[in-house]
């Protein structure tokens, strides 16, 4: 979706302000919101693309006014409610008022190290040959789905070069919808800054994105 999350190339946000000696978390609720988000993925049975869509899919004024962990937490609430794991009255009451829904697995302390160490690789066994090879000239397609996509607006319709064939990876546009992993070839596509931003842009800059084959067409 063309939501407020798609920030590449926007103006008006002011300078980047690094925080000296920044702590990992800035308050106790950030710690808990972070951990709850990680821990609920297992019983919630959602995938990372569903989480990302739940985060970005909110009115832009809200998205931009919230801190990053506020966005995470709001998305966690959304997903819990959508799946009827938690009800509105329970969120208000701060305690369980209805029987829990059966869940297949929960995260135990004994699981933590292994679950984190394993992660969730997205590479899958190939089912087709890659259409493009390094050096090919491609154009990022013009798409504007209302649903989740990982092709930022600033590269759509722009011509670049395949720099690397990364592998065959889970396709977020399907996975976010619960429509299956539908893996696709993934490429690093490099664009000249001037192709993206125009002739006045810094000629010494190039920008790449990682793009799945359905995002690309031969140019």
């Amino acid at each position: 979706m063309n939501g407020a999350q798609d920030l590449g190339g926007m103006h008006g946000f002011g300078p980047v302000v690094p925080e000296p000696n920044e702590p990992v978390f800035h308050s106790e609720w950030e710690r808990r919101a972070f951990a709850l988000t990680l821990a609920m993925a297992m019983p919630g049975a959602w995938n990372i693309d569903m989480s990302r869509f739940a985060r970005e899919n909110r009115p832009p004024a809200e998205y931009l006014a919230m801190s990053y962990y506020q966005v995470w937490f709001a998305a966690l609430e959304t997903m819990l409610k959508q799946r009827e794991l938690v009800a509105d009255d329970e969120i208000v009451a701060g305690r369980s008022l209805h029987a829990p829904k059966p869940v297949t697995r929960t995260l135990t302390p004994g699981d933590v190290a292994q679950v984190l160490y394993r992660g969730a690789p997205t590479e899958r066994a190939t089912k087709s040959a890659a259409t493009f090879k390094a050096g090919d000239t491609v154009r990022a397609k013009t798409i504007n789905p209302l649903t989740h996509t990982r092709l930022p607006r600033y590269v759509r319709g722009r011509t670049g070069t395949i720099e690397r064939v990364i592998g065959y990876h889970v396709f977020p546009d399907s996975n976010a919808l619960g429509a299956g992993e539908n893996p696709q070839w993934l490429y690093t596509v490099r664009f000249e800054g001037r192709e993206l931003w125009g002739g006045d842009a810094d000629a010494s800059v190039t920008v790449s994105v990682d793009a799945w084959e359905p995002y690309l067409e031969r140019a």
Partner: protein, 204 residues
Amino acid sequence: MTGHDHHHDHDHSELSETQLRVRALESVLTEKGYVDPAALDLLIETYEKKVGPRNGARVVAKAWTDPAYRARLFKEATSAIAELGYAGRQGEHIVALENTPTQHNMVVCTLCSCYPWPVLGLPPVWYKSAPYRSRAVVDPRGVLKDFGVTLPAATNIRVWDSTAEIRYLVIPLRPGGTEGWSEDKLAELVTRDSMIGTGLAKQP
């Protein structure tokens, strides 16, 4: 309309409201048996105490001193990094980017906050912020200026937008005057920002 003051007030009331909501939700999820608070504590402890940019600094220092490791790192970073024990969540597929005197690399995630957790820990607020995400891809030199860094005009800048599950780790240039230094001593020069590309390694 005093945008700034107003927003601060707004944030403060929002924060306490959020604090209460998070606590309430944790109670509900715990009572329902969906989460185990001890597992939450462990998750927090892991990223607050164990996993952080010191991991990445060790990778960089080794790449600076061990040519065979350096070669493995640029060929297949995920496994080279796993040799040092770093792997897993948000680092399942890592690519190492080589800074050279003629090319500087900078990593961003314009769409969210993708970041190589096993080697850098959790991302700082500025990395997830609108100013960085909006400007890194269009004005990387301006962003570097915000960090007090000026590169020669002749240096090409390569920006990597992390739009998939590939995580990028910048291997900064090894500072001069560090010949014969140990990996441990070299690792002290490797800042987090130098591994994102918004900084350079410290001068000795």
